[in-house]
Structure formats: C-alpha cells, structure tokens
Amino acid sequence: MTAEWEAVVVGAGPAGLMAALTAAQGGLRVLLLDAQPAAGGQIWRGAAAGQRGKAGELLRGVASHAGITVLSGAEVIAAEAGGQSHTLTVSAEAGLSHIHAARVILATGATERFLPFDGWTLPGVVGAGGLQAMSKGGLDLRGVRVVVAGSGPLLLAVAAGLRQKGARVLAVAEQAGLPGVAAFGVAAARLPGKAREALELAAGLRGIPYWTDAALVRANGDGQLQSVTLRRGRREITLACDFLAVGFGLVPETRVAALLGCPVTDAGAVNVNAWQATGVSGIYAAGEVCGIGGVDGALLEGLVAGCAASGQIERLHDSPRRAETQRRFQATLERSFALRPDRLPSPSPATIVCRCEDVRHGQLQGFTNWTAAKLQTRCGMGACQGRVCGPACQTLYGWRFGGVRAPLAPLPLSQLLAEPNTLSPP
C-alpha cells in the first residue's frame, strides 16, 4: 500500500532523531513528526545542523538522509492502533492530515512538573526549563534577576545556561537534601565521557549559591512577580527578583501513547521491553516518555528502538551493557531527587491549582479522584487539558490522571470543518 509509511517517529528530540536516523539506515521509509517549529527537542532547542557535537551530527544525519521526511510544527491530535497499520492525525499549519504507518516510535519526551504555591500564577513565575526555552527563543535576560527553585539536575543546567545569557542568578533552591544531591553528582560524573561535562557545569555555576533542603514558600507581587520567599531550616528568606524559574522534576508525556493503548507504569512512564517495544504490536517508545533518564539514555533507547523497528539486531551487541549503566544512573537520579512532602510548597485553600479554570486547592481537597474532581469543578478541562494541573494533583492528592482523549489539543474550527488529507510517502 503506497499510502503507508514504514515508520513514523513522534518527537524530534535526541531519542526521536536517533530512532529516525537508525530506522532509515535500516532501510525504512521514515516520517519524523515534531510539534516544535524546529527539530532538537527541549534539550537541543536552537541547535543547528552546522554545529559540532552529537546534536549537530544527528541533525545533519537526519536532514541529509533521503529516507527521512521531517515535518515540524506538526502536533499529533489523535491516534488509533490497528493490527497491521496505525493511524495518526496531525494538526499543522496546512490543516489536519491522516498518517498511516506500519510502525510507530514514540519519542514524545517529558514536560516539567509544576506544583502550586501562593503567587505561582503571577507573570514572572515560569518553568525552569521554561525560562531556558524562552531565552533560546530570544527573551533578553541581560541583567535580569532570577531565582531558580524546585528539584532536579535540570535546575543546575538551567542556572548555568541563564547566567551565560547574562542573567543574574541569585540562588538555586533545591528541595532534596545534600547527601542525595552529592550521590547524584558522583553518579553523573562517572557516566562514560561525562567527567568533563560535570566540570564545565561546575565552572558555569561558580559563585551561585546552591541551597539544598530548601523549600519554596511563596511568590510575592501585585500583577507581576516582585520577590520570592524561601525557607532554609527555620529561617525564611525573601529575594527580590524578576523571574522565578521553578520546576519539580519531569513528567513523561504519554498522551499519544495512551490513545494508542500502550500500558503505562505506576510511575507514569510507557512500559517497554529490552527492544523498546510497548505492549502494542508495532509500537515502540524511546527516551523520557519511558522514564526520566537524561540525554544519553534517550540516545541509546532511540538507537535500540530504531534497530528493533527495522530488524537491525546485529547493531545492538553492546546495548544491554550500556542500558544497565543507564538504569543504574536513572535509579540514582530518582532516589537523589525524590520529592519530600515536608520540603514541597504547601498551597493554601485559596491557591489556584488549575490555572485554566481557576480551580482552587480548597475546592479540590474534598475529592478522592481526578474524575470526580473534574466533573464537579472543571479542574483540568481548560485549554491545557490537565497538562499542568494533572501532575500537580497527582503529587498533591495522589490522584492518577486519566481520561486522555482526542483531540489532544484545541483545534481551530476551520481545521475541524475541512476534510483531512492523507500524508503519503514521497
């Protein structure tokens, strides 16, 4: 059937780029879809094919391979698994398209976990990775005062990156304790080829206070962020700043996987076997969507998924050993930055939890699950469809986010009314 792609890769970050290139090297005709305007994902946002290193190398490889078609600015809004052929519906500037594929590789990455606290809806309170992304998108940070807070190694990478763009990073406030953070530092520096990267990061952070065991109390301001209050031990500290860059780790982005019926672990990641195959025939997953493990793990999983999808098993002779190293690193990462309830921000009854529908903590506390809360309060029913408040409610109330359904993104009426075309291989 000529209308069918041999493989469609969803997401053009490290895992997706690697999976697409590997599958194409194995002879498959590949379509690489990405919602962002340009390939690279979050970690390689703004990377150019001309640059040195792994990002440039992969972007060049993908752009120059005749077997790969790249479609940027294309968001999957519906997906249906079939026995032999799967169907994705994507929304792009040109309208809606159907895509039929024998194999699908999900590399949809992760989003930041946001937790509600007083003042978090003020303009100026942004994601940690969010501010990094805005800066790469052209936001001028020269001389701007930033407090970085929350949890995870991303905070450090962000602090170093923002400073390089001219920001004055006043402090990095981490909820985890020093022993965990130190254990992570040792594990990260021991990864093959990572010692130099760790030293460079340390140099980029020199002079920035890094506070472990620190709790975020509230953001202060009237219509715009003016300062941030943190707690260290029994002492509260208020820092005047222009941006609070905050994130409490990453959450696998499993929406497309959910529509396809792929089983998900208790930790909220897509369940895969040693070949990155999901529980659904012909559907693979790679990278952060299978669990948060960083760029090296994502590249390895992309390679494995690409090989498995195209039958190049001989290329995977040393992948079990590499995968074991990655798994150990991932376990250390999880342990080191596990969220500790006594260090997390505590919302007051008036704190907004669902930003789209302005649903407050006091309205949600009485419910026992996501569905009941959603039906009664409209929590999670706004434009973002629970992308922000879903993970927050999971951490705050222990609810499992559910009810993912198409369309995954709000669509303009003009797109809904037009007949979708079918995007076929060239």
Partner: protein
C-alpha cells in the same frame, strides 16, 4: 530582520525569535487575565500550558511555538490589557 507589529507598534526582531519573546522583550505583560481576573504570563515555554496564547494575524496561537515572520500583526488575547 523581520519587522512585525506588536499591538499596533512596529518592531524589528532577530530571525529565529518566537512571538512570545518579542512580546516579552517589548514589556507587554500580562499576556492575559484569568477567569477570575488574575494577571498571567507564559509558564512552560514549550507549548503545554497554553498561558502564552496570543492573536497573530487574527488567529489564536501559542506564541511560544510561533516564530516571528515579516509583517505579522500580533495582539494579546485582550486588546485592552493595560497591565
């Protein structure tokens, strides 16, 4: 460098800039008001949170996912946003 119009004012921005960064650098804050009237700005920077929606050439888009282009006409969601 692309020249666009931000709420009626012409601005020249470097290519590769997002419409969100153009709005932020021009000091156009807040981007919107919430249902209960609270001032809001961009949050996630990657297309998930929908806080950065703006009207570009008459269409509501996520401004963080929208690159600047020559001649764009950009407005915040509420025209009478006075901060």
């Amino acid at each position: 460098m692309p020249e666009l119009t931000l709420e009626g004012v012409r601005a020249t921005v470097p290519p590769g800039t997002t419409v969100l960064a153009a709005l932020q650098n021009a000091g156009l804050s807040p981007l919107r008001h919430s249902l209960s009237g609270g001032a809001r700005g961009a949050l996630c920077g990657m297309g998930s949170c929908y806080e950065c929606r703006a009207v570009v050439d008459g269409l509501t888009v996520r401004s963080c996912l929208t690159p600047v282009r020559e001649g764009q006409d950009v407005w915040r969601l509420e025209v009478n946003c006075d901060g």
